[in-house]
C-alpha cells in the first residue's frame, strides 16, 4: 500500500451512509457505530449530488442533514467496507505510443552518434519523461528481439514481429480491467495463450492494484478445474513497466457473445448450458473456500471448445480454513451484480458464497432476458433498488415456472434463505433439458460456424518468408509506404461466426430498452459498472467485412491477402538445407 487510498481517494471519493432508519434498526447488532464506508468509483458522477462534486471533504447524512466529519474516525470503523476501485483509461492507445517511442528512440540514437547528448544517459531520477522513455525503449530493443539488428533508417517504416520470453505476440483479443489482453503463441510448445498485460502506471493508479494482482496469482496457482481459467505463467519486465500474465486461450467472453446478438440475450437453452458450467466452476471454487465476488457475463470466458471459464480473480477472497461459513467483510465487485447485504450497509458481514450465488442469479437473468433485474442509472438509486424493490420477472421472454422459481430463490434478499451452489444444482430447472434447436444445437451451430484462426500468422510470414512493405499511391500521386500488418483479426465479431443465425430483437426487447432509459435522460449519466457497455454495438452487414478469413482454408486466404506471393517464398526456402527437397508445396500435391 503506497499510502494511498487516503491521499488518492480523498480527492475523488464520496462516503455515503444510508438513512438513519437503517442504522438505528440494527445498531445493537453491530460491533461499532452505524457507519458504512463506501469507497465509490471515482469515474461515477452522482447526478443527485452533482453540486457537491468538488468537495474533497467527507459527507454523511445524519437525520437528513449534511454534516462533515474528519475521515480518520470513520476509517477505524469495522463496518462493511466497500471499494469499487477499478476504472479504465479508455484513451490509452499503445500502438501510437510505440510509434512515438520508436521515433524518439531513433532521434536519440542519432544524437548519441553525433556525440551531442552523451551525458544524457546519466540521468537523474527526476529527469524528463522523454529521456526515460528513450532508455526504456533502448532496453526493450536489446532484450526482445535477438534476430533484429537496430538500424536507423527504416525505424518508422518497418515493424518486426515481437517475441518476448518465448511468446510470439498476436492481436488484441480483449480488454481487462487492468489493460489489454493479447493473443500469443508459445514458440516452443506451439500452444495458443492469452496474455494479460498490466502496466505499472495503471496498477499504481488503481486502489489496491498491486495487492489485487498478487492475490489473483496466489489464488489461481492453486486452482485446476475445467471451468476455471488456468494461469500458465507470470513474468515481469521492469524496463517496460509491465507485468504479463499468461492464461490459456479463450475466444472471448460471454459478454461479447451477448453484444453480438441483436436482441442482447441468448436462448434459454444456451443460457442453461452456460449457467450450468458456471455453477460447476463456482461449486469447485467454493469447495476450495474461495469467494469470487465478481461473477458477471464479462468475467465468464469461452474457450475454443465452448467451455465456460471463470476468470478475473482480482477481488476474489480466500476464506480462512478455520471458518465454518463464508463470512467475509470486504465488499468488491460490480454494483449491478451485488447482493443487497453488500449494498445495504446494515450488515457487518455477509456470506461470500451466497453473494456469488446472487451474482450468478443476476447473470442468469441477464443471459435469459438481456436485462438486469435491478437497473438504475444512479449508483445510490441502484443500491436502494437492490435493497428494497421486489424482483420483477422480465416480460420480453416467456420464462417457465421452474426458471422463475429458481430466479426468485437465487435473487432472495435474505442471504440465509438464498440457494447455495449445491442446492442450485439440484433445482429442477437446472436438471431439465432443452430441445436441440434452442439448447445444445445452437452452441453446436456456433462451434460449426465459428472460426478463430491464429492472429499472428502474418508475423510468422514476416519471420520466415519476409514481409514487404505495401506501397500505395495516394491522391497526390505520391507513393506512400504502408506498414505491413502483423496480425489478422482480433476480438470476437460477426466475422467469427459467419452464417450463424442470431436471435432477432423482438419489439418487446426494444420496448423495455426505452422504458429503462426514461429515468436517465440526463446527459451526465455514466455507466455504473466498468466493462459494461452502455449500448449494443450495431451489427455490421457481412459485405462490409474488410479482412475475411474463410474457415478451414487459411493458407489459400493468406496467399490472396498477403503482399508476398507464393513462388517467391518457395524459392527462398530452397536454399536453406539439403532436406528442402523433401518439402513440396501443397499446390503441387493436389
Amino acid at each position: 500500500m503506497e499510502g494511498p487510498s487516503s491521499a488518492a481517494a480523498a480527492a475523488n471519493t464520496k462516503f455515503i451512509v444510508p438513512d438513519a432508519d437503517f442504522s438505528s434498526q440494527i445498531s445493537d447488532g453491530r460491533r461499532n457505530s452505524g457507519r458504512v464506508t463506501l469507497n465509490v468509483d471515482p469515474d461515477f458522477v452522482d447526478v443527485d449530488q452533482g453540486g457537491s462534486e468538488d468537495d474533497s471533504d467527507d459527507e454523511c447524512f445524519e437525520d437528513g442533514q449534511l454534516i462533515r466529519e474528519p475521515r480518520r474516525s470513520r476509517e477505524n470503523d469495522a463496518g462493511v467496507k466497500m471499494s469499487i476501485g477499478h476504472y479504465d483509461d479508455l484513451e490509452e492507445d499503445e500502438e501510437e505510443d510505440e510509434e512515438e517511442q520508436r521515433r524518439r528512440f531513433a532521434e536519440g540514437i542519432r544524437n548519441i552518434h553525433q556525440n551531442k547528448q552523451q551525458e544524457s544517459f546519466d540521468l537523474e531520477p527526476e529527469d524528463s519523461d522523454a529521456m526515460r522513455q528513450l532508455v526504456n525503449t533502448a532496453m526493450m530493443f536489446n532484450t526482445d528481439n535477438q534476430f533484429q539488428r537496430i538500424d536507423f533508417e527504416p525505424v518508422g517504416k518497418r515493424k518486426t514481429p515481437k517475441i518476448i520470453e518465448g511468446y510470439l505476440w498476436g492481436a488484441q483479443i480483449g480488454t481487462g480491467s487492468y489493460g489489454k489482453v493479447k493473443e500469443v503463441i508459445d514458440t516452443f510448445t506451439l500452444t495458443r495463450r492469452a496474455a494479460k498485460i498490466m502496466k505499472y502506471d495503471k496498477l499504481r493508479k488503481i486502489t489496491n492494484g498491486w495487492e489485487n494482482i498478487r492475490s489473483e496469482m496466489a489464488i489461481l496457482r492453486r486452482l485446476n478445474h475445467k471451468n476455471v481459467i488456468k494461469l500458465v505463467e507470470v513474468f515481469n519486465i521492469p524496463t517496460k513497466g509491465k507485468v504479463y500474465m499468461i492464461f490459456e486461450y479463450c475466444i472471448g467472453s460471454v459478454q461479447q457473445l451477448l453484444d453480438l446478438e441483436p436482441a442482447r440475450r441468448l436462448s434459454i437453452g444456451e443460457s442453461h448450458a452456460i449457467f450450468a458450467e458456471l455453477c460447476h466452476g463456482l461449486n469447485y471454487l467454493h469447495s476450495k473456500r474461495i469467494s469470487h465476488k465478481d461473477i458477471k457475463p464479462g468475467n465468464l470466458l469461452v474457450a475454443i471448445d465452448f467451455t465456460i471459464k471463470i476468470c478475473d480473480f482480482g477481488v476474489a477472497e480466500q476464506i480462512s480454513i478455520f471458518q465454518n461459513d463464508g463470512t467475509c467483510t470486504k465488499v468488491n465487485g460490480t454494483p449491478k451484480f451485488q447482493p443487497p447485504e453488500c449494498v445495504h450497509g446494515n450488515h457487518s458481514f455477509f456470506d461470500g458464497y451466497k453473494a456469488d450465488m446472487w451474482s450468478a442469479g443476476v447473470t442468469l437473468y441477464n443471459l435469459v432476458s438481456g436485462k438486469y433485474p435491478f437497473e438504475k442509472p444512479v449508483l445510490l438509486k441502484l443500491y436502494e433498488c437492490i435493497g428494497t424493490e421486489p424482483l420483477v420477472m422480465p416480460t420480453n421472454v416467456l420464462l417457465s415456472n421452474e426458471l422463475q422459481d429458481l430466479l426468485r430463490q437465487l435473487l432472495e434478499k435474505d442471504f440465509t434463505r438464498r440457494l447455495g451452489c449445491q442446492e442450485t444444482m439440484l433445482h429442477p430447472w437446472f436438471m431439465s433439458s432443452f430441445p436441440e434447436d434452442q439448447g445444445l444445437g445452437r452452441i453446436m451451430e456456433r462451434m460449426r460456424t465459428g472460426d478463430r484462426p491464429l492472429t499472428m500468422i502474418p508475423s510468422m510470414m514476416a519471420l520466415y518468408d519476409g514481409l514487404e512493405n505495401e506501397v500505395e499511391i495516394d491522391e497526390d500521386g505520391k507513393e506512400v509506404v504502408l506498414l505491413p500488418r502483423l496480425t489478422i483479426g482480433g476480438e470476437l465479431d460477426h466475422d467469427t461466426f459467419r452464417g450463424f443465425k442470431y436471435l432477432e430483437a423482438t419489439p418487446a426487447d426494444q420496448l423495455l430498452d426505452g422504458a429503462a432509459d426514461d429515468d436517465a435522460l440526463n446527459p451526465m449519466r455514466r455507466p455504473s459498472s466498468r466493462s459494461m457497455p452502455t449500448s449494443a454495438p450495431v451489427p455490421q452487414p457481412i459485405d462490409a467485412v474488410t479482412t475475411p478469413v474463410a474457415p478451414s482454408s487459411a493458407s489459400a486466404e493468406f496467399a490472396d491477402a498477403s503482399p508476398s506471393p507464393q513462388p517467391k517464398k518457395s524459392r527462398q526456402r530452397k536454399k536453406r538445407s539439403i532436406f528442402a527437397c523433401i518439402f513440396r508445396s501443397r499446390t503441387d500435391s493436389v
Binding site: 453446436m444 478463430r452 518468408d465 530452397k574 523433401i582
Partner: protein, 369 residues
C-alpha cells in the same frame, strides 16, 4: 534360482517379477528390457514368468521427461487405463501393471527388435525399403482402423511407438495421449503443452487450435509423417524451429519420400542434388506409394482417406502387397539378426553377480520432492 541371482522378487497376480539393476543403454534393442521409474531413475528390469509361456515380457514405463512427476504418473495411469480397453493383435497388450516402491511397472509383451525408430536409427540410415514399409503400414492401419472405429484418436503415432519383433509382428504402443471423440461433434479440441513431444508429427489442424477441432483424420497425417521418416531416414521438419515448422505446415508444405523421381523433380526446380546419398539417388518407389503418402498428408482432413479405406488403396491393395504376412516384414527388413542376441530372449537371463551396493542405487529412497 540361487539367492544372489535376483535382488528381490515380488509376487503380483501369480507372476513373479525379478528386478535387477543391469543398466543397459536405452534404445539398444538387444537388451532385454528397460524401465524408467517415476523418480526418473532408469533401471533395467527383466521379467521372468515361471508358469506361463512366453517367458519374457517387455516392460515399459513412462519415458524420462522434464515434466512434473505427478503428471508423468497420471499419464502412465492413463496409458494403462487406455491399454486395458484395447484388444487387437496389432495393439500392444498390457499384461500387468503394478506399483513398486516409487515406480510404476507395466508388463507388456517383449518386442525384441525394438521400435521402428531404433531400427532406422541403428541399421537403416537411409530408410527401409518399400516392401517392409507396406507390411508395417498395413499392420499399423489395422490398429488405427480398430481405434477409429471405436471413436478414439491415438494422437501419438510416431516411429518410436511402432514396435516390431523378429517375427515381423507390428504393435502400436504409446497410448498416453489417446482421447475419445466428442459425442456431439465428432471432433476434439484439446491441445496443450503436454503434446510437445510429438508436435513435429501433429497435423496442421491440430496445431492451428482453432474452432474446427480435429478428428480421427489427424492420426492419418501422423502416419504419413511416420512413413516418411521411416523411408527417408530423417524426421521431416527436423531442421526447423517449432514455430517455423508450424508455419510450413499451415502453408500446406509436406514431406515426401525421397527417390529417383522426387529428386528429379527437385532438380528441375533448381535444387542441387549432388550432395544426396547414392541410396536415395538410385532407388525407385512405386507411384502408388507416392500417391498413398500424398493422400495421407493432405491439408484438408476431409480429403484424407480413412484408415479402413487406406487399407484398400491401390498401393496396399496391389498384387505385390495384398497378401503381406508378418514374416515378410522381417524378411524385407533385411536385418542381420546376428546383431540381435535373440538367444537372450529364449532362455532364463544370466545375471552377473552384483555387489550389494548396486541394490541401493537401483532403488533410491531419496524423497520425492
Amino acid at each position: 534360482m540361487s539367492k544372489d541371482r535376483h535382488l528381490f522378487a515380488i509376487p503380483a497376480n501369480f507372476f513373479i517379477y525379478c528386478v535387477f539393476n543391469r543398466v543397459v543403454k536405452q534404445g539398444n534393442p538387444t537388451h532385454l528390457s528397460w524401465i524408467c521409474d517415476v523418480a526418473r531413475q532408469r533401471v533395467t528390469l527383466c521379467v521372468s514368468n515361471r508358469r506361463v509361456s512366453p517367458r519374457f515380457w517387455r516392460t515399459t514405463c513412462s519415458n524420462e521427461s522434464l515434466r512434473h512427476e505427478s503428471i508423468i504418473f497420471e499419464e502412465t495411469q492413463r496409458e494403462a487405463t487406455n491399454l486395458r480397453l484395447m484388444n487387437h493383435p496389432n495393439i500392444l497388450e498390457l499384461n500387468d501393471c503394478f506399483v513398486l516402491e516409487n515406480s510404476v511397472y507395466q508388463i507388456t509383451p517383449a518386442m525384441n527388435l525394438g521400435s521402428l525408430f531404433d531400427i532406422v536409427l541403428n541399421y537403416k540410415k537411409f530408410g527401409i525399403n518399400e516392401k517392409a514399409t507396406a507390411g508395417i503400414t498395413k499392420q499399423v492401419l489395422d490398429a488405427l482402423a480398430y481405434l477409429h472405429q471405436r471413436r478414439y484418436i491415438h494422437r501419438d503415432v510416431k516411429p518410436k511407438h511402432i514396435l516390431i519383433d523378429s517375427n515381423g509382428n507390428v504393435k502400436l504402443s504409446g497410448f498416453r495421449f489417446m482421447i475419445e471423440l466428442n459425442a456431439h461433434l465428432d471432433c476434439v479440441y484439446e491441445f496443450d503443452a503436454h503434446l510437445q513431444n510429438q508436435i513435429y508429427y501433429l497435423a496442421p489442424e491440430v496445431l492451428a487450435q482453432n474452432m474446427h477441432g480435429y478428428t480421427v483424420k489427424s492420426d492419418i497425417y501422423m502416419l504419413g509423417i511416420t512413413i516418411c521418416e521411416a523411408i527417408n531416414g530423417v524426421m521431416p521438419f527436423a531442421e526447423l524451429d517449432p514455430l517455423e515448422m508450424l508455419h510450413r505446415k499451415l502453408n500446406g508444405q509436406v514431406p515426401r519420400p525421397v527417390d529417383m523421381t522426387s529428386l528429379k523433380d527437385d532438380e528441375a526446380l533448381g535444387i542441387d542434388i549432388s550432395q544426396r546419398p547414392r541410396e536415395h539417388l538410385t532407388r525407385q518407389f512405386s507411384q502408388e506409394m507416392h500417391d498413398f503418402i500424398a493422400n495421407c498428408l493432405l491439408y484438408e482432413p476431409m480429403h484424407r482417406n480413412s484408415a479402413a479405406d487406406l487399407k484398400e488403396s491401390t498401393w496396399l491393395g496391389s498384387k505385390a502387397y495384398r497378401d503381406l504376412r508378418p514374416t515378410d516384414v522381417s524378411e524385407a527388413l533385411e536385418l542381420d539378426y546376428t546383431h540381435f542376441d535373440l538367444s537372450l530372449w529364449e532362455q532364463e537371463p544370466v545375471i552377473p553377480p552384483q555387489p550389494e551396493q548396486r541394490y541401493e542405487i537401483a532403488f533410491d529412497y531419496s524423497p520425492l520432492s
